[in-house]
């Protein structure tokens, strides 16, 4: 069967089981948009290519499958560089297809030419510049294989226009051997000796902590983690990237560690004698000052990526495998720590002394952002997926939403990309149409990518957006208040400009506003009753509210600052 490269590309995506592409056409990718008309694949036309990338990420985070985005060359390609960076930092499986100028024009500064494989070399797991139509099926199959196996990540396929236009005899690789990836071996044989050393370290430990990172979600290790934790009674902390992999309702769950972590989670790590890192990478937002991080702890580090071992903290035992496999191996070997009663007593004290708290809102005063989040969480249906932007609202969402299921938290961790929330929520809803999807957003973030609500409305993707409108780039304001003598430099946004309700309405969404607790409860109910169009709620929150606990950047976790109302005792 003779096909054009464009037809072969679309057919290859169909072969991979792709059901949705997020994208926006242009000159170089035009040939590929034609056969899309005849395909079963749904294309979602975004309003900015950054939106396509974040939607594909949201789709991937909510479903565990690779997200797919397609854009044109030059500015189309550069507009998606931020999502690619974001996916690279968070190990999110993504396949990005970019148009490229014809092979004969490459290197000649042709119209809308840019060296996107060069630009993305350091922010993709791998990329391909496809040289012939015959190579397209292999590139697609290899891209999905690379994006979804081992440590997942973004893969980019750059398709020159003439490659899409020329013809090929259809074929599709049927086995990994045909992918032409002689240097890629994502799975390793389990190192039984290292497993035994882990079991021995666990057996000696009296104050162990399971420090669970995003790798646990990527390896779909929820069930194994629950079984291991239940059997061993070891306390669990879940990083920002791992929220949801272990139920927040579980009594062994101490919550999130790190810069804005729960006090007990931070202190349990600090005082532990054995840190069991499961798909976690010792990010500076978790460790604080590295020299003062968990100073008495031995470290077991489980990761699929061996370059993580010793990158930040030298492990006592490194186990290169995925988290689920490690946990199963430890369970099979009966790994168990010593009696943990004393350890749990200590942790219990931290928990009761320094729980997550915030000031109750006054009846007619501004809303408390944490209270808004808890009120939404309380009334949202079970299984609701939450996306967020980046800033204070993100930290409050990570702290105060109670996550019970994997893939229910869609968030930008490693890159901290403002504007991630709205498009990521749209992508999550496309991937999981059966779920309610809320975006907890900041007013600053919302202004970066809000136009994608036009996409959501026109494509019938009814997400719900809660803008925690504090009239500020709040997180930056918090740092200026605390560390720059309250000298506020370029952080004020205004609560009224833009008018978020009118803006929402202009984009075909329902726009609502709440300035006090009564209105808040009413609009949340109203939003939950609307299921056909996107809803945007402008929650007017207190500008001076800060995120606590907090470990200042570069400070030791021991110097954690708790909520002002808890400071008397310390």
């Amino acid at each position: 069967m003779q096909l054009t490269g464009a037809q072969a590309l679309i057919k290859s995506l169909e072969q991979q089981g792709v059901d949705t592409i997020f994208g926006l056409p242009g000159g170089a990718i035009l040939p590929v948009y034609d056969p899309l008309l005849d395909s079963s694949i749904r294309h979602i036309l975004v309003r900015h290519e950054q939106g396509a990338g974040h939607m594909a990420e949201g789709y991937a985070l909510a479903t565990g499958r690779a997200g797919v985005a397609m854009v044109t060359s030059g500015p189309g390609a550069t507009n998606i560089v931020t999502p690619i960076t974001n996916a690279h930092m968070d190990s999110t499986p993504l396949v990005v297809i970019t148009g490229q100028v014809a092979t004969s024009s490459i290197g000649l500064d042709a119209f809308q030419e840019c060296d996107i494989t060069g630009i993305t070399m350091g922010i993709t797991k791998h990329n391909f510049l496809v040289q012939s139509a015959h190579e397209l099926p292999r590139a697609v199959a290899a891209a999905f294989h690379l994006a979804t196996t081992g440590r997942p990540g973004p893969v980019l396929i750059d398709v020159p226009k003439d490659v899409a236009q020329s013809t090929m005899e259809w074929w599709y690789p049927t086995s990994v051997d045909e992918y032409d990836l002689p240097g890629y071996h994502p799975t390793v044989e389990l190192d039984e000796a290292a497993v035994a050393r882990c079991v021995a370290l666990i057996a000696q430990s009296e104050r162990p902590v399971l420090y669970v990172g995003g790798g646990a979600l990527k390896s779909r290790a929820s069930a194994e983690l629950l079984a291991f934790a239940d059997r061993t009674r070891i306390p669990v902390v879940t990083t920002l990237m791992a929220r949801g992999v272990f139920p927040d309702s579980h009594d062994q769950h101490l919550g999130m560690p790190g810069m804005h972590g729960v006090y007990a989670a931070v202190m349990a790590i600090q005082r532990s004698d054995l840190l069991i890192a499961l798909g976690a990478r010792f990010d500076d937002r978790v460790t604080g000052k590295i020299a003062a991080f968990a100073p008495e702890a031995k470290v077991i580090h489980v990761d699929i990526d061996r370059a993580e071992f010793g990158k930040i903290r030298r492990p006592d035992v490194a186990l290169q495998t995925d988290v689920a496999t490690a946990l199963r191996a430890w369970d099979a070997a009966g790994a168990a720590p010593r009696a943990l009663d004393g350890w749990w007593r200590e942790i219990g004290q931290w928990r009761s002394e320094y729980p997550l708290v915030y000031d109750e809102p006054e009846a007619n005063g501004p809303l408390r952002p944490q209270h808004v989040i808890e009120s939404i969480a309380r009334t949202a249906p079970p299984g609701t997926i939450v996306a967020s932007g980046v800033g204070q609202h993100q930290m409050w969402a990570a702290q105060h939403w109670k996550f019970e299921e994997p893939n229910s938290w869609v968030n930008s961790g490693g890159a901290g990309t403002m504007g991630f929330g709205v498009p990521a929520a749209i992508g999550a809803k496309v991937g999981r149409p059966d779920r309610t999807v809320w975006c907890i957003d900041g007013d600053g973030c919302f202004q970066m990518t809000a136009q994608e609500l036009v996409t959501a409305r026109s494509e019938g993707i009814p997400i719900k957006v809660a803008i925690l409108n504090n009239a500020y780039l709040g997180m930056v304001r918090q740092w200026q208040e605390m560390f720059y003598d309250e000298r506020y430099s370029e952080v004020y946004l205004s609560a009224d400009l833009p008018d978020y309700v009118k803006w929402a309405e202009a984009m075909g969404c329902v726009g609502l506003r709440a300035t006090n607790v009564k209105e808040m409860n009413d609009v949340i109910d109203e939003a939950h009753a609307i299921n056909d169009v996107p809803v945007v709620i402008d929650f007017r929150t207190d500008s001076s509210e800060k995120v606590f606990p907090m470990v200042a950047a570069g400070a030791s976790n021991d110097d954690i600052m708790v909520h002002p109302s808890q400071r008397g005792g310390r």
Partner: protein
């Protein structure tokens, strides 16, 4: 007559704790950029780098990278290199377990009438003359990096020298490390 600059210190061409990575890569466009980019991005230092088609395979090239193991732990460098999809196999050869060779080429401007000092220097180093004309001599030395260092130092005594070195290639010393040490990536 020019007097050569007095020699100010030791020429140390290799970092104190260098290591040799013999890296088998797919022979595809952009592979060197991927390797160089990764080193730059991660702040790892490359001291020298030599590339050539690998033995008997058109599909692969061999890149010999001398890395500065001071700039980062070796396992970090190897681990990050290993993640590059086009990198097929990495052999890490400790300097004392390696046979290392390098090629030095130098053109020295000297008058036909006054070549005795140069010939003495070359003779001592085991270098060969590969090209001559009345005003200059081109010499080569294929030797250990230390021998190349020594000749380079000796040639500082001459006024007008243009000198190029290839960077080293290496193989494991026989009887210490064996080809089986070349671990397939996984």
């Amino acid at each position: 007559m020019n007097t050569p600059e007095p020699f100010a210190g030791e020429v140390t061409h290799s970092p104190v704790r260098h290591h040799i990575l013999s890296v088998l890569v797919e022979n595809k466009s952009g592979v060197l950029a991927r390797i160089a980019g990764m080193f730059a991005r991660r702040g790892f230092n490359i001291y020298s780098l030599a590339v050539a088609p690998a033995e008997s395979h058109a599909r692969f090239s061999r890149v010999t990278i001398v890395v500065d193991a001071e700039s980062a732990p070796l396992e970090q460098i190897v681990g990050q290199l290993d993640k590059l999809v086009n990198v097929v196999a990495i052999t890490d050869i400790a300097p004392r377990e390696a046979v290392e060779r390098e090629l030095l080429l130098a053109t020295i401007k000297t008058d036909v009438s006054n070549r005795t000092p140069l010939l003495d220097t070359l003779g001592g180093a085991g270098a060969a003359i590969v090209d001559v004309d009345p005003g200059a001599v081109t010499v080569m030395l294929a030797g250990t990096p230390a021998a190349c260092d020594a000749l380079e130092r000796d040639l500082e005594a001459f006024a007008d020298v243009e000198l190029h070195r290839t960077g080293r290639v290496a193989l494991p010393r026989l009887g210490r490390a064996t080809p089986a040490d070349e671990q397939q990536k996984d």
